[in-house]
């Protein structure tokens, strides 16, 4: 047995009273407030400056709080939200196509395979419209119709057009909006930004978050920061698979170190494997580039009908092509949700229908779209994506189909938070991709930018003051305490231990090995046997890591290998918990596909009777402890998730 279960503890999600549509306003009506002239006395640390971190930092500073931010990049503007391409969902119903807050809520809840809280998801949909207003006011150049009104497109898993977009650079433009709003507060003296600083520990006293330890990546200097509250906005940890769509520096260390201090981790194994990425072409690759899901609006996905086809794609006639998504999911077709599209691609590839030099891809074909709409229209819609594709592969996708393949992309799992976005540690809040909240077991396309923004602009600025207002006013944040001392000693010891191993293998070697184990055994499909083997393999890899790692031994100054070693050391622990999490959930739901639990036609088979809960993991010795937060569906009825 790899874990134990604690049935005595029941997590309290703090969902407000009332009808679904009244819950958020009920919370706001009754929340405690901090008066404007007192706000400057409260210090808040925000770790991570992507969309959720920057929007939270800006919004809290606008209210008058003293905010300090940290990011490991050399500028806050480079956080990985910048790379989101396709769009952001919002319920405006500008298309008059039947959209409503309830429909958006239901699409998201169903998209997540009924493994998230109704109240959280409803609030996400409810706040979505304001975000578009805010972004436009900041100068985000969303696409417009010729009339000057905002334009929309459609994304996977929905039957309306509610996605707003800024060419293929929506994440960049939204992030710049939030970054600029934050820099305005820097100019006003309410936000202090530290770039190239990485959080190495959360400091707690009597179970309350008191501050963090950070390392200056340019000098190696370690510093203490104390505050009234700590906000983790550190993004996802999909880079654990080594090959992923994430930036090289994305990591799980901040949330993992907070977890080790007691913050529960929820459903860490629920990882979105994105269906439209560039395939792996050899062993030299450091990442797999994402091609926006928006391409599936006009591109048709197919594989050759026969196995081991050796004709060139243009020589394969229509009757020998299998448009398998259109065949299997006629009502959603190429816009089936990501988990389903990825699994369908894997099924084709595994059954010998894959294409490309390594037979590990499927075609995404714009032939019909170009014939129907003209090349000019396709250039306007996706020009930058086509040119990116050509830069990387050397292939002109206007003339022959793109080749795409699934790759690790988004962490639905993360630190557990309640309705107020508070972790299980008082004073520690977790926002954006770093938390587990709205997406359940599968995130719908264009909902990640939305969730990051809604958490940062609209939710945290209401819920955090509710916490701050009840703190004892005379208590000032203080770094000269035994808890900070202990934490600093621990962090310094960890760093010097990593430097002293002096083995014979690089950090990347261990990261690649871990990635392979996880992708094979805890990726698109999972089995009890595979997961058990993975846990054992990760344990021995971890042992080897601490015996045989080689990095340059300097703790001071720039040492990228030491940074990476710390992150991989954490990944080696997170990976094990992911496998244990996947092993403990004996059902399939969303992106979590256990081969033992599937319907006769190969779809995920949920088990609502036994598994309608959020898994909350508490660190334990020797094994992690599972706590269950039951999910109650008061306003919807979980149904079999069908996109046929």
């Amino acid at each position: 047995m790899y874990f134990s279960t604690d049935t005595a503890t029941t997590p309290i999600p703090k969902i407000p009273e009332g009808d679904l549509k009244d819950k958020w306003s009920n919370f706001k009506t009754h929340a405690r407030l901090v008066s404007p002239n007192n706000r400057k006395n409260y210090r808040i640390l925000v770790v991570g400056t992507g969309l959720s971190g920057a929007s939270a930092a800006a919004s809290l500073a606008e209210l008058g709080y003293q905010v300090t931010t940290f990011c490991f990049q050399d500028s806050p503007r480079r956080a990985h939200s910048v790379a989101a391409q396709g769009g952001v969902n919002a319920m405006k119903n500008y298309k008059n196509d039947g959209d409503s807050v309830f429909r958006m809520f239901y699409d998201t809840l169903k998209g997540g395979d009924f493994r998230s809280r109704e109240a959280n998801v409803y609030r996400l949909a409810e706040c979505s419209a304001s975000l578009i207003d805010q972004a436009v006011a900041q100068g985000v150049p969303f696409a417009r119709e010729y009339s000057g009104y905002l334009s929309n497109r459609s994304f996977g898993g929905v039957q309306v057009s509610r996605t707003f977009y800024a060419r293929g650079q929506t994440g960049q433009q939204l992030l710049l909006g939030a970054y600029q709003a934050m820099m305005r507060q820097v100019h006003l003296g309410r936000v202090t930004c530290y770039s190239r600083h990485e959080m190495l520990d959360l400091v707690t006293e009597n179970g309350v978050a008191k501050g963090i330890l950070v390392r200056n990546l340019d000098t190696g200097e370690i510093s203490r920061h104390a505050a009234h509250a700590v906000v983790l906005a550190t993004g996802g940890f999909g880079k654990i698979y080594y090959l992923s769509t994430l930036a090289m520096g994305c990591n799980g260390s901040a949330i993992w170190r907070a977890h080790k201090k007691g913050a529960w981790a929820s459903c860490p194994s629920w990882t979105q494997i994105h269906p439209t990425c560039l395939p792996q072409s050899g062993n030299h690759q450091s990442k797999l580039t994402l091609m926006s899901e928006s391409l599936r609006n006009d591109g048709r996905i197919w594989t050759p009908r026969v196995k081991n086809e050796d004709r060139k794609p243009l020589d394969i006639p229509e009757e020998d092509r299998d448009y398998y998504l259109e065949r299997r999911y006629p009502s959603f077709g190429n816009l089936a949700p990501r988990d389903i599209a990825s699994r369908a691609a894997k099924e084709r590839i595994d059954s010998g229908h894959g294409v490309g030099p390594l037979k590990n891809a499927v075609f995404l074909d714009f032939k019909d779209a170009i014939a129907n709409q003209g090349k000019e229209t396709i250039v306007k819609k996706y020009g930058n994506l086509f040119s990116m594709y050509e830069k990387i592969t050397g292939i002109n996708a206007y003339e022959q189909p793109m080749m795409i393949s699934p790759a690790a992309h988004f962490s639905m799992g993360g630190l557990w938070v309640d309705y107020e976005l508070s972790s299980s540690i008082s004073g520690l809040y977790v926002i954006g991709e770093a938390n587990f909240s709205d997406h359940g077991a599968n995130r719908l396309g264009a909902n990640s930018l939305l969730q990051a923004c809604v958490d940062g602009y609209y939710i945290l600025p209401q819920t955090l003051p509710h916490y701050l207002a009840q703190l004892v006013k005379s208590e000032k944040p203080e770094t000269n305490t035994p808890a900070f001392e202990e934490s600093e000693n621990k962090v310094r010891k960890q760093l010097s231990e990593l430097c002293q191993i002096n083995g014979s293998k690089t950090v990347d070697h261990f990261h690649r090995e871990l990635g392979k184990i996880l992708y094979d055994k805890c990726g698109l499909s999972r089995t009890e046997k595979g997961l058990t083997a993975a846990i054992e393999a990760i344990r021995s890899l971890r042992q080897e890591f601490y015996q045989n790692l080689k990095i340059p031994p300097n703790e001071n100054g720039i040492n990228e290998e030491l940074e990476k070693a710390g992150r991989v050391a954490d990944y080696l622990e997170i990976g094990e918990l992911m496998c244990i999490d996947a092993l403990s959930r004996q059902e399939s739901c969303g992106a979590h596909f256990r081969e033992e639990f599937q319907t006769p036609d190969g779809e995920a088979k949920r088990n609502d009777r036994e598994y309608a809960f959020i898994s909350c993991w508490k660190p334990g010795n020797p094994n992690p402890v599972l706590i269950k937060e039951p999910l109650h569906f008061e306003f919807t009825e979980p149904t079999e998730r069908s996109y046929k």
Binding site: D133, P141, R167, C193, A247, G249
Partner: protein, 242 residues
């Protein structure tokens, strides 16, 4: 493929740097330039030498963190391509490649090929925004903006903040970077109200941070990975002197 590399090595900001020779072998043509350096570093680490320090993060051409001066050009030989999107198929087998940091007096070298670009953040902090706080925004469709206006603003807004414009300029000017933000916000109706003050403040900040003056050579436009036009500099200058 194999390559001879001449890489700038410099221990710290104050240390003296020099070009050091390296050789890499068995590199596939599909390898990106940064992945080629990863492979070099892997060899150096195993030999007990210090790996080459360089900036990168997203490796998909959008975060703007990668910044290498390759064979005398910012981001290397291809137009409108950031370093991370450059692949070894763009070089000849056996070629000698010079790899240097982006150089400008406002971008101190931290180590090897890593530079400090915080001056760009400071320019934005001085006024590169629309002063709207969360919650103040009116309904989005109330402001109609023509598709052409938005697209033209977008051309400026697409800046990734890499600093290639500064590194390519003989004067080390940040005129293109600054003008792109001024022009992005000026071209949208929401951004017009603060425009005058924004332009004054950002130009002043740019001058104070040690960037040189623009003398219209156009080198920045040629090397910009996003292909941002120097017409934005003309707009900035016109509005500044108004």
């Amino acid at each position: 493929m194999k390559f001879k590399l001449k890489i700038w090595r410099q221990e710290s900001t104050s240390a003296k740097g020099k070009l050091v020779d390296y050789e890499v072998k068995d590199i596939s043509a599909d390898t990106s330039f940064l992945e080629m350096l990863d492979q070099l570093n892997e060899t150096l680490i195993l030999r007990g030498e210090n790996p080459v320090s360089f900036d990168y993060d997203c490796r998909e051409g959008i975060c703007g963190q990668c910044c290498l001066f390759i064979n005398g050009r910012a981001h290397g030989p291809l137009d409108q391509t950031s370093t991370c999107q450059l692949h070894m198929r763009s070089f000849k087998d056996g070629q000698t490649i010079y790899v240097e940091p982006f150089r400008a007096s406002a971008f101190p070298i931290k180590k090897d090929l890593r530079i400090d670009r915080q001056a760009l953040d400071k320019i934005i902090a001085s006024g590169g925004y629309i002063s709207v706080s969360t919650g103040q925004a009116p309904e989005a469709n109330q402001t109609r903006i023509s598709s052409e206006e938005v697209e033209s603003a977008f051309d400026a807004a697409s800046c990734i903040g890499c600093g290639a414009c500064v590194a390519s300029c003989k004067n080390g000017s940040a005129a293109l970077f600054t003008a792109a933000k001024i022009s992005h916000l000026f071209q949208l109706p929401q951004g017009k109200i603060e425009h005058k003050k924004r332009t004054q403040n950002m130009v002043k900040a740019m001058d104070q941070l040690g960037f040189g003056a623009c003398s219209n050579t156009g080198a920045c436009e040629v090397e910009c990975p996003q292909g941002i036009s120097i017409r934005h500099i003309a707009l900035m200058n016109k509005e500044y002197w108004k």
